[in-house]
């Protein structure tokens, strides 16, 4: 048993296997994306390549470059696995496949040419330095994030938008309606940096005001956006153009069009 534990093969397998296990735990048991990313990243972006580097016997020859080489080979393994999966099944299970690939790659983790082991003191020193440097790097990142938040940013100009609402937002084109009937047309007004109070919507048919219709005031909902419902009396016509004008006092601000036909005669070409 002792010999087994001390065998180079098992020792070489220990770290990648542990990282794969942590990756699975992260994937299936950790709901927070950032923490999950930290836990699964080594399993996905290092273990497969590390095992390939070991299988090729390059760990010692690559020296300090074996870690970045492992990352890149992991990326290639991931791409290759995805292509094979797609070729075989027409689908790539991206959420789970990389971890299973990582698990499978452990089979390659034979230490054909193990790197010279660092002494415990060297390992502790390297870990200590890495921790200190990592903490410092995080502090720099926090400084940048803080500065981005604190420093003045660009002032964007406001805008005013006028559109159909409800089903009429997706009106398919010319609307068929019964002559003499009424259409209830919802419109909405959205704006950024704009005062929406005092806005009204007026309607014209074929360029002329419709008799007995007053401008409809724009109401403002809880989210600060404007809306109105316009009752549209339909006249008999091949095609009429109804123009909806958003106004403030007498000033026209925005325009919408709706084409309505109340005739199905062949001469209307609709």
């Amino acid at each position: 048993m002792r010999d087994l534990i001390r065998s180079p093969r098992l020792r070489a397998l220990a770290l990648p296997a542990a990282l794969v296990a942590v990756g699975f735990v992260g994937r299936y048991a950790v709901p927070w994306p950032v923490l999950r990313a930290v836990l699964v990243a080594p399993a996905v972006l290092w273990v497969p390549g590390h095992c390939v580097v070991g299988a090729l016997g390059l760990r010692a020859a690559a020296g300090r470059w074996s870690a970045p080489l492992a990352v890149l080979l992991s990326i290639i393994v991931t791409i290759a696995a995805a292509l094979v999966s797609y070729a075989g099944f027409g689908y790539v299970p991206l959420g789970t496949m990389p971890l299973w690939v990582s698990l499978g790659s452990l089979l390659l983790a034979a230490p054909r040419a193990p790197a010279p082991a660092a002494t415990p003191r060297e390992t502790v020193r390297a870990l200590g330095f890495g921790t200190a440097f990592g903490a410092g790097a995080l502090a720099v990142a926090a400084l940048v994030a803080g500065l981005v938040h604190v420093l003045p940013s660009q002032q964007q100009p406001g805008y005013l938008a006028f559109s159909f609402g409800g089903d009429f937002a997706d009106v398919p084109g010319v609307v068929r309606a019964q002559a003499g009937g009424m259409l209830d047309i919802p419109v909405s007004v959205t704006g950024s940096g704009q005062d929406l109070s005092g806005l009204t919507v007026s309607v014209a048919r074929d360029g002329k005001p419709i008799a007995n219709t007053d401008p409809v005031p724009v109401l403002i909902d809880a989210s600060g956006q404007g809306y109105a419902h316009v009752q549209l009396p339909i006249a008999t016509a091949c095609i009429s153009r109804y123009s909806f004008t958003l106004q403030h006092d007498a000033t026209s601000l925005r325009l919408l069009d709706l084409y309505v036909t109340s005739s199905s005669s062949a001469g209307c070409h609709v």
Binding site: P33, R36, A41, V44, V52, L56, G57, L58, A61, W65, P68, L72, L73, I75, I76, I79, L83, Y86, G90, V92, P93, L94, T96, M97, P98, F129, A132, G136, A137, L143, V144, V148, L151, P152, Q154, P157, G158, L160, A161, F162, S163, F164, G165, A169, D170, P172, G173, V174, T190, S192, D206, C238, I239, S240, R241, L256, D257, Y259, C268, H269
Partner: protein, 683 residues
């Protein structure tokens, strides 16, 4: 000037003039952590420069603050890289710090969502893959990227496994790729030139290429592919250095894996990698023919080249045959325009026309090719002299160890990559023509690696030589300064300062030549700019479309409005061309041709989105839709107010939405011949 010995000198080798220094552990630790406060200061300045750019408009102060921030880290990193007595750890910590730091400008440019044109296309592709698990889906902006899914697979994998958003996953991957690229350049330089010092200088020179800071940090397939490109060449260099057959085989396998890994990621990088490997193979074959290269090196080098070439060829032939038609116009048109330019027929472009970049950036941009040209020439002269000396030794009576040393100094990868780097110079004239400019700039990301290999020995030779002051005769007359040691040290300092100054010029000049202010800095709205066209109004318009009309809708619009609609509303924008001239809906006043209507109708294009400023402003990058459109790069706006306003009068175009500058119309092609009362004709 000699370069041998400089490269092979151990990084910590004491010299007779310098007694060994004793440093306490605490001092060493403090020195090793010194990059952190430096990076903090630099990052603060760069962040401030972005705030200045966003708030002060045309003021040039942000450039100055930006470069102060960048040089705060770049200069110490270059000093650590080029210094003779620096520990490997210090060199690596500085280069690592510089690598991470140089990612900051692009990260600050758009930290929370994609912004550059290609970025939006790749983000959309990755998001679609993450959602569906389906490869090779078409892309609304750049059709060809669907056939090269490598990047999207990795981004979508990180996103799906971790739960991070697609954009955050992309940022994580890009940071890893950016840092690994620079480390790869260090590794390659070390493998080819024989010392970590040379490797870090190679990496720094490589990082001065115009794509490194902004283009190859965007979410684009080249950003990942170029990392594999560099590491593939590293593996080739290592296979050529390997002394055992088993070692060569292992490195061959790694090089082939990395090289073939490029193929499903990016077409252009694959082809350039084949070219670089071919040049290295030829150099190896020539050296082998002269019996200069060790036996057993040529076959694996050729094998890697062949495998990558066959993989690229098969992929293009079987999976992405459109690649040829996609790439060929860039080469063909660029060459044609360049021929016209040199034959006096015109067709050129004015460099930095309408540029808002400060004059020192422009000067540095013009000086950069000259500086690398002089250094490359020196590198070639050294190569020629060494080749002659080597051949003389080889053919002379006392060949042997000296020749072996010569071979170790000049491995085929060094010669091959140096020659590959020389391709930079023929590409420079293409910057003068509109069709070739982008391709030329993009090629520098690759050729600069070879250039760095070629000129690093020259740079280190200069730094280590005392020549500049030794030759200053007036110094020899000043007896009170007589000591040779002083002159040697001062000479080195002068050359080191000159090298640092040249590095700064290269960094500033190449970044300036790479991308204009609109890409680099935030700022006010610019019509017809990929990065400054997206305003809250446009985002609001696209949001309205996505919420009320729905996603995956086919729309006709201009390039800049389309970017926001793809990003915010998952829309599919029409790709106009001579065969599908949707731009005619904007360029011509009147009813569109029947063939266009037929195609729009049968393809289910249902919406037309118009930016009314098209009738009053010219686009900053010269095109409304795509480079082959009629009137591209014209100085007169071909679009009239009437051409855009006509759709308010047609029964077949219903105006659904109108904001300050944008209007959304619904097509109803069934009503194209209809006549509405009071609107004149249906035309």
């Amino acid at each position: 000037m000699t370069t041998t010995g400089v490269l092979d000198q151990p990084a910590t080798a004491p010299t007779p003039q310098d007694p060994p220094r004793r440093r306490t552990t605490a001092r060493r630790a403090a020195l090793a952590l010194a990059p952190l406060p430096t990076a903090a200061a630099g990052a603060a300045l760069v962040t401030w420069s972005y705030s200045l750019a966003a708030t002060r408009g045309a003021d040039e102060t942000h450039y100055l603050v930006f470069w102060l921030g960048m040089l705060t880290v770049a200069v110490p990193a270059a000093t650590a890289a080029g210094a003779r007595r620096t520990s490997p750890r210090t060199r690596l910590i500085w280069i690592l710090t510089y690598a991470v730091f140089s990612f900051l400008p692009k990260l600050l440019r758009n930290p929370s969502q994609p912004l550059f044109h290609d970025e939006i296309a790749h983000w959309r592709q990755s998001a679609n893959l993450a959602a569906s698990g389906q490869l090779f889906q078409p892309d609304p902006l750049i059709g060809i990227i669907g056939k090269f899914p490598g990047l999207h697979i990795v981004v979508a994998t990180i996103s799906d496994v971790s739960g991070l958003s697609v954009w955050r996953s992309a940022v994580v991957l890009l940071l890893i790729a950016h840092v690994t690229a620079l480390l790869g350049a260090v590794a390659l330089g070390e493998a080819v030139l024989g010392s970590l010092r040379a490797g870090t200088v190679v990496a720094l020179i490589y990082s001065f290429n115009s794509s490194f800071m902004y283009f190859d940090t965007q979410l684009g397939y080249e950003s990942l592919a170029i990392v594999l490109f560099i590491w593939c060449l590293f593996c080739v260099a290592k296979l050529q250095n390997a002394r055992t057959r088993r070692g060569r085989l292992a490195w061959t396998a790694a090089a082939a894996a990395l090289g073939c890994g490029v193929v499903p990621i990016h077409h252009l990088t694959s082809l350039i990698l084949v070219l670089a490997l071919a040049v290295v193979s030829i150099a190896t074959a020539v050296r082998r023919r002269w019996q200069d290269a060790p036996a057993g090196v040529l076959a694996p080098t050729l094998a890697v080249t062949g495998l990558v070439a066959v993989s690229a060829g098969l992929w293009i032939a079987l999976v992405a045959p459109d690649t040829v038609s996609y790439l060929s116009p860039y080469f063909g048109s660029g060459l044609s325009q360049l021929t016209h330019l040199f034959s006096g027929s015109g067709g050129g472009r004015t460099l930095f026309s309408a540029s808002t970049e400060p004059s020192y950036e422009r000067l540095a941009a013009f000086a950069s090719p000259l500086i690398v040209g002089v250094l490359a020439l020196a590198g070639l002269l050294v190569l020629r002299r060494r080749a002659r000396a080597g051949r003389a030794r080889h053919t002379g009576p006392s060949s042997g160890d000296a020749w072996s040393q010569h071979m170790a100094d000049w491995p085929p990868t060094r010669i091959g990559l140096g020659l590959f780097g020389l391709l930079y110079f023929p590409s420079v004239p293409f910057i003068l023509v509109s069709s070739g400019a982008e391709g030329a700039r993009r090629s520098w990301a690759f050729t600069y690696l070879g250039l760095a290999i070629l000129i690093t020995p020259v740079v280190l030779g200069l730094i280590d030589s005392t020549g500049l002051l030794e030759k200053a005769t007036w110094l020899n007359r000043t007896r009170w300064l007589d000591p040779a040691r002083w002159r040697a040290r001062a000479g080195r300092r002068v050359t080191a300062v000159a090298a640092l100054a040249a590095s700064c010029v290269l960094l500033i000049g190449n970044v300036a030549a790479g991308l204009n202010e609109d890409y680099r800095f935030p700022g006010p709205y610019v019509f017809g700019s990929d990065t400054r066209s997206i305003t809250p109004e446009l985002v609001g318009t696209a949001d309205w479309f996505g919420q009320h009309i729905g996603t995956n809708q086919l729309i006709v619009t201009d390039r800049y409005t389309g970017l926001a609609f793809v990003r915010e509303a998952d829309a599919w924008t029409a790709a106009p061309s001579a065969g599908f001239p949707t731009y005619d809906l904007y360029f011509h006043d009147g009813r569109p041709p029947g063939s266009l209507v037929q195609e729009l109708s049968s393809s289910h294009y249902a919406y037309l989105v118009i930016d009314r400023r098209m009738a009053t402003e010219l686009p900053a990058i010269g095109v409304f839709f795509e480079p082959d459109e009629p009137f591209a790069y014209t100085s007169r706006d071909p679009i009239t107010v009437g051409a855009l306003a006509q759709y308010e009068n047609y029964p077949w175009t219903t105006l659904l939405y109108q904001s300050d500058d944008y209007a959304i119309y619904r097509f109803d092609f069934g009503a194209i011949g209809a006549h509405a009362t009071g609107t004149g004709t249906g035309r």
